[in-house]
Amino acid sequence: MKGTKTTIAALAALLMAGTAHAEPLKVGMITTLSGGGAGLGIDARDGFMLAVKQANNPDLTVVIEDDQRKPDVAVQLADKMIQQEKVDVLTGIIWSNLAMAVVPSAVAQNKFYLSVNAAPSQLAGKGCNKNYFSVSYQNDNLHEAAGGYATSAGYGKTFVMAPNYPAGKDSISGFKRFYLGDVAGEVYTKLGQTDYAAEIAQIRASGADSVFFFLPGGMGIAFMKQYAQSGVGIPLIGPAFSLDQGILGAVGDAALGIKNTSNWSKDIDNATNKAFVETFQAEYGRLPSLYASYGFDTANLLLSAMGKADVKDQDAFRDALRAADFNSVRGKFIFGANQHPIQDIYVREVIKEGDVLTNKIVGTALIDHADAYASECVM
């Protein structure tokens, strides 16, 4: 009899341990699912939902809404998520301007925000918040790594180019922070510009030995195609955004050989990443992109915290998030003091695997890299 009793007690204890954290948690995902930038949001969503599906945790509910890449729509969706859906955690925003519109007021209303992509400098420095976590990076990171790579590759006259908007200016200053050579020319293009003939002519005439460009989305596709046709041939360096899986197919062979900096790549050698790439491909019939990897990591971070604490106990849940006790597709994963990752940033090169264009890691640009704003952050 005694034996049975202990068994029951043990079972009860086990059940208690099991139920202690089995409080329901609701996540609101606001991301771009329609219009020109939809590819990025769809990737982030699919990566996130893949992890959710694999975990099969009945206590986790996800609500997904389309922000149409419009800041005012994003703000209203955030209001809806908070007021009507009563979510505990928000995530999903791709673009920095939308993040700036949504995040400060969401965290002020005591919601957690986990960024799957956008991480503007304002939220990393003075505007940091204990409820805001960036799983992806800080916006400047990949540009800084490109600067570091250009320096270590021995370039001394780099032509730099970005669209004329805040993220573009941040990218150029991020690049310059780690670039020690001279700037052969600096050009700000119109946002959404599609013809780069004028800029390419300037690059050709500048006598540069390398070109750093940050042109997200369709702008980058247009630039790389035209650059390849122009026969200028000065090596291109960029952050991974313009050479990511989602758009490589549209750039075609014009992208071959371009060096780009990224904190993730499908050939990072660890079991989690291998499984992620395989299952993503099996589930959706395409290779995962950077954004898919961020979405996947974000969901797994959230699930790991759910296993440790109840989201209603904000302090405990926050500590659980900070611990980042999950298997990241990037291998190790540590948050810095401002809750942005401290991570290695790789140099990738665009290659062809059979018929498919993809990236291969060829080196490491920065090791255990934190962002430049962490010191300004007071929590």
């Binding site: 005012d72 209203q76 007021q83 519109a101 002020a108 004329n164 993220a167």
Partner: protein
């Protein structure tokens, strides 16, 4: 005066607009209140445009510029006040403010000055040229806002805390809705009085026959310019409220999509109808809300529906429900 069908319809619309948020409050659905606030604000922007477009026949495809100017008036003044930075210190100090009334006055003056400048040039043209040149000016202001770093550029400007109005907790959704609804009411009343005034008659006369107006000694250009400026001011006022609704402004408030949307509200509801823009905004926002959460390609049925309305329901929603407009 006996009530015609349109007046009855207007009353029903007004009652609905006020009743829905109250019911939502009772049922603890605060997001419905936010949607109703959006309807009131967009309705107000549309009422502004309707003065130029509906009564004056001036198809402005650039009213988003004024909407944005109103928004930036709120954003800029509030950001200076919240950061304790004076807007200018020489020759005398001007500080920011979080008082809505001051913000509205600034929004009205700023939009009036800019509308006067734009109107003086654009009203020399007519027809499609007018449509396109108003678009061009809006695009100029849009690109200026994107590349101007001082107030956030494309990132926009966060207000963090809604600006204040004496005796009101503006952060409470229902109170803020009430404020917007009252402003909409004021604007509607003003618009109703305006079109019945001598000025309003001159404006409608200038739309139908500019030459005849000149013959009776009224300069259509001046009448149109005044109408354009008034129209812009009302839209800017709505913009200031919209900034407070979202606690955020960005250049996207000035994009040509926004101009198109404000125009859609007016046409969908019924051009030159007093309550047309309100009805149009309500229908559009309802569709966006219902379709958006059910179907990934929700803009497809929205487009088809819009098309059907234009092709088969002439005179917009009000026209459909209240019949042809009676010509004065």
């Amino acid at each position: 005066m006996t009530m015609n069908r349109e007046t009855i319809l207007n009353i029903i619309l007004a009652v609905l607009l006020i009743a829905v948020p109250l019911i939502a409050q009772a049922m603890d659905e605060p997001f419905i209140i936010t949607l109703a606030t959006k309807v009131a604000i967009f309705g107000m922007a549309g009422v502004g445009l309707n003065i130029a477009l509906g009564y004056g026949g001036l198809v402005s495809f650039g009213h988003a510029a004024f909407f944005g100017i109103g928004g930036y008036a709120a954003g800029i003044l509030a950001s200076h006040a919240l950061n304790y930075e004076p807007i200018m210190s020489t020759p005398f100090e001007i500080n920011g403010t979080t008082q809505m009334i001051v913000i509205w006055v600034v929004a009205l003056i700023a939009s009036a000055v800019i509308a006067l400048l734009i109107g003086a040039i654009t009203l020399r043209t007519s027809g499609v040229y007018f449509i396109m040149i108003t678009l061009a000016f809006a695009q100029m202001i849009y690109y200026f806002a994107i590349s101007w770093p001082a107030y956030g550029g494309e990132d926009g400007l966060s207000i963090y805390v809604r600006n204040s109005f004496p005796g009101l907790n503006t952060l409470d959704p229902l109170s803020f809705f009430g404020l917007c609804a009252v402003m909409l009411g004021i604007v509607l009343a003003f618009s109703a009085v305006l079109i019945r005034s001598r000025f309003g008659l001159a404006l409608q006369g200038a739309r139908q026959n500019g030459q005849r107006m000149m013959a009776v000694g009224i300069a259509p250009f001046r009448v149109r310019l005044v109408a354009f400026v008034i129209s812009a001011m009302i839209t800017a006022w709505a913009g200031a409220l919209y900034a407070d609704l979202n606690r955020f402004v960005s250049p996207s408030m000035m994009s040509w999509h926004m101009s198109g949307e404000i125009m859609v509200f007016v046409i969908l509801g019924g051009v030159g109808r007093l309550f047309g823009p309100v009805a149009g905004a309500a229908l559009y926002i309802m569709l966006e809300h219902l379709l958006g959460s059910t179907f990934e390609f929700w803009q497809l049925p929205l487009g088809i529906l819009l098309l059907v309305v234009v092709l088969f329901a002439r005179g917009g929603l009000i026209g459909l429900l209240a019949g042809e407009r009676k010509h004065a």
